[in-house]
Symmetry: D3
Subunit: 252 residues, 6 copies
């Protein structure tokens, strides 16, 4: 099994640039995969893909060096295991709010006897190699999303869970949780403070910090702060923003 | 965000006529949507659709004034949120049996800080408008199904949960729960009594009552009783009953 | 290879009752197949199915005694052969206008050396038996649609093509061709006359005559005239007419 | 049947701004449809969509005022008729090279007795209205692509075919045909000359001229020249160009 | 409702030979179904199928006497009920670790008042008969997977749950749980001992024992031991092993 | 654009070992692609794939060095161009019977001004490189199938068409054409003679000869004769033969 490029970047203290796949179209994924992002995240939570369409997206990415990451809809064993079996090398779990939830997340993504992931990596073994059974636990990156008031309350307890590699901040949900309007880059001060706090605590625990952004500028600023997994853009956003720019130019 | 037509009808004390989509065919949904039902319910529980095929069905409905409703397979956070992100304006949750379950249902379908629905309404925002984040909580209709013995035991506790807009009765499951044969319109007396009881308690709590029926006659009778969301027919039923009538006529 | 039930019915001079699949939903097809029609026709011309979705429809029919028929979009070799490879036991070709077109139709659906159908009946052999290569030519039923002014001009030339088993009348196109409004059952006199003429000539050539109808009553009347393959209804029609009846009853 | 908005724009001598759907994703189409283009063209020739995936794309567009156009893969009767049955209000046919080909194109998209389009507009009638049979011929817009040396030789013969509403220039193929490199906006002089010539001849014949462009600037320039159907952008192009811009910004 | 062939075999103390469907291709399933296995198991856990693609696989099997079994991804009510509604006659639940989990599994697959399965067997009733509501509970076979250390600890408690028809051993997960390498047939002694123990306890409780194997030889050996549901091969394995044999022969 | 590995093998006078994809499952294709065949052929003629499902199959192959080839259903411009746009590096056309047909085949797969292939290689350019427009004509391999009596009559005329790279023999169709039973490896003498003749004439014209076989032994024998593109097996065949072997072993 090859080294997970995310881990390689992090060993070099370099941020991984991630893009978001909200569409569920295999060719859109292939097109995005050929652009050169460090990672692409298939979003099964708020995106359109599901366990059915995830497969061709992961296959499309596989012809490139881009690392395939999947965000699951919820902390559920069945989908977490399917996502890894399908070959994801990173998995993002939304709304991890307590130490116990973080432990379940790690356990469900780690083989026995250390965890309780069920064995049967049909595609993962095909594409990642015959040593998958022994190498997967260490290769896969587990991101717990920190985006609720409850998670802030249990932050250190979550961050200290063994096997949790990274956290990922959803600024929109975090904003709502703190009584603010959902936003990505230009969050309200209370949210900005929370983000800085989460980053600092993650760094203190040697846990990689990632965050969702709404623009390249936002992502760069976050990387400069110390985030090491920065989502810079989503495919659906490229379509909408690009189309609006074209129409504006046509009607100017 | 436009007013949810279900709420408008209810403000006028008029029953909403609903039809059931058990098939998962986009054109069948479009055909049904053009007939003029007040609502169409995509059934992810006992119907054939799933989170994958739900999307084209909701898109097909979107060209008409019909309100898109989805029944989820079970009280699970992931699917509830996906259904709303996809643009459903009503959501029916099966087998809500306790106050705590009703509370979870409401929380998962309501944004923070009041609830815990995660933010990311990709399609919902596109089709319902840019104010979705602030308007969705009040616009969406939440139906808890009352269809078990346990739910009957906790009826008032469930009905008094803040944010629960409506209940929906499944006469077949309710019949089984009471030791009777599954039926829609012609339920056994014990079941009829339970239905009347549920309706009365819902009205007492100012919660809209809905019910599944097997025919237009059944639905009309339920509307006359006071039900304000009456399912009159299912697409699969139209196919089977219609085909049988044609064959009977051919062979007469 | 079992006897084609269409041929069995015709040997007994009995009409085959056919229903039309305009939807492309596998479960709708299965539902229709369990009702007891003699044949179901997957419509690749004006229906929604295509060479992709045809397969699950044919698989759904295969669990029942109903004969699977497919109407191709046009007189094209590629699609005719795919339809037969997929296991269709009858094939309807639209707008066969000349003797030469009828000959091509027969040739493309008949193996060499008599015809030019290419060999590779992957699914057909699996479900119809190992003798498919030798038995298929005689088992398959070929329907040429007679529905244009040109076809009327070449009627006897078409009907005398060896290997053409049957014709199928599309009353709507025939109506348009004769300057009338499209209709199924209640065609204008000029069209009625043409239909009777086609039937008489088909009978004279010992070619089975089939026709599209809009109702059981229409189909029965055609069967009484001598048609031996009568389409009585379409799935999409069942949905629309059924839904309209329910809504009318609700709003009465 | 409502007026075709393309014809309305042209009566006002205004250019229709078109965007190109190369992806085959229903949500991408819906996203594009909500941006406000006058038309969206589903490309069955060089795009990824096919007769199977065309349907959800057309359904997604149907909730907006955008005019649905389809480019067929080739001058073939079967696909032309399917595209119209599915509700397209404009159809672009590639590589129409002779008067006879243009005549076939018009005939296959026009009902008898004037043409030979077969009747069965299942979805088209549902979404465009019950008068579709009589109104469709006049409502639909037929674009013949002029993009080969042969077509240039037969330009006036093609443009004078009755019922041909519009032509559409593919600058890339035209460039190759004239021995130049494929390009959209910055074509070589020989190609620019041919484009101007085609436009002038189209105007002389009262045939609307459309053209494919690679940018809003290119489309505006073409509109200023007199083109009345200008493609300004493609969805796949938005993804690729947008992603490249984001990555460039990240790595600056 | 016909007798479940699995129960018939077991009444005769004969082992059922099962094959595994890891692919999600309808034709691959049909091809496998025509070979004559006693049962085919659609794997929603480690296989590629999901609730979307499960349907055409089950339809493909339905034309043959092969018993359709489904393994669900996890002990979740929603998917268990969907699988049965879709017509599965056997259901395998992974990682059943405690008596309470086994009870939930049985309850969710049994109608009220004995269990809590929700009623709505759309396809199951169509294909299995109108008495499905009363006959299903007794006809369906429920397999709890015993494959963790925790399950070994609670073995008798699990096996004594009323309504649990069978257990199924996953030798790979069991191996990992016991600190060994994942394997099917040639398990390490500690695992072999555990397997023999599980079999003995199942027999003592009159619960049918099933097991996953990697070859016909392995399956035969397990059947000889007393296992009565033996998986002999998986479709994906046939492809890989067969292709490797062909390539080895080509390159010899 | 990288060198087409088929051409590299042929320059070294080595046979390319091809396997056939009759299924239309993306994972089956990926599994086959990782085994190490020189080429995989997606069969749109007698296989289950179509222009819709071809795309994920080609994407699955793209992560490996295996050369993607597609057999089209028929000599039709639209599908030939779609197949190449999708990234196929080889294309097999069935039943090429005359010099004129071979010329059309070559023209439709070659850009202007030498041919008439329309330009728009969306995916082909993405995966094969920005020089696709200029490099594709020389890189793509065009196989004309020789499998009819008519083709035998015009053999030299076909083989001398400029730009035709290869021929491919379908022994089954050739057998039928010569009045024999369809077979792959053990053809009747008359067919064996025809095969040898075709090979000899192809070699005389410096046209690569390929052939379909039913086994590795058959393919090796053909390679020894001088065939340089030998299909050794099909995925569906691996499933059926493998399953039969397992069942035979179980029931021995």
């Amino acid at each position: 099994m090859k080294d997970n490029r995310l881990r390689t970047l992090w060993q070099q203290d370099r941020p991984a640039v991630n893009a978001w796949l909200s569409l569920r179209d295999g060719f859109a994924a292939e097109l995005m995969a050929h652009q050169g992002f460090d990672a692409l995240t298939v979003d099964l939570q708020h995106g359109l893909a599901d366990t059915h369409t995830m497969l061709p997206l992961l296959q499309a990415i596989a012809a490139t060096p881009t690392v395939p990451v999947v965000r699951v809809p919820w902390l559920e064993a069945g989908v977490l295991m399917r996502v890894l079996d399908a070959g994801a090398l990173g998995v993002i779990c939304p709304m991890v709010n307590t130490r116990e939830e973080a432990q379940r997340f790690v356990a469900w993504t780690t083989y026995a006897p250390r965890g309780t992931r069920s064995y049967g990596p049909l595609r993962a073994k095909l594409v990642h190699g015959d040593d998958y059974a022994t190498a997967a636990d260490a290769a896969i990156v587990r991101f717990a999303m920190i985006e609720t008031a409850q998670a802030l309350d249990h932050l250190d307890a979550i961050l200290s869970v063994e096997g949790l590699d990274a956290i990922y901040i959803g600024p929109s949900d975090l904003s709502l949780a703190l009584g603010c309007k959902p936003a990505f880059d230009s969050v309200e001060p209370k949210v900005a403070e929370a983000i800085a706090h989460i980053l600092a605590r993650a760094q203190a625990h040697n846990v990689v910090a990632g965050i969702h952004n709404g623009s390249a500028a936002g992502a760069r600023a976050r990387a400069a702060m110390g985030f090491r997994f920065v989502t810079a853009v989503a495919d659906a956003q490229l379509l909408a923003a690009g189309a609006q720019a074209v129409l504006a130019a046509m009607r100017a």
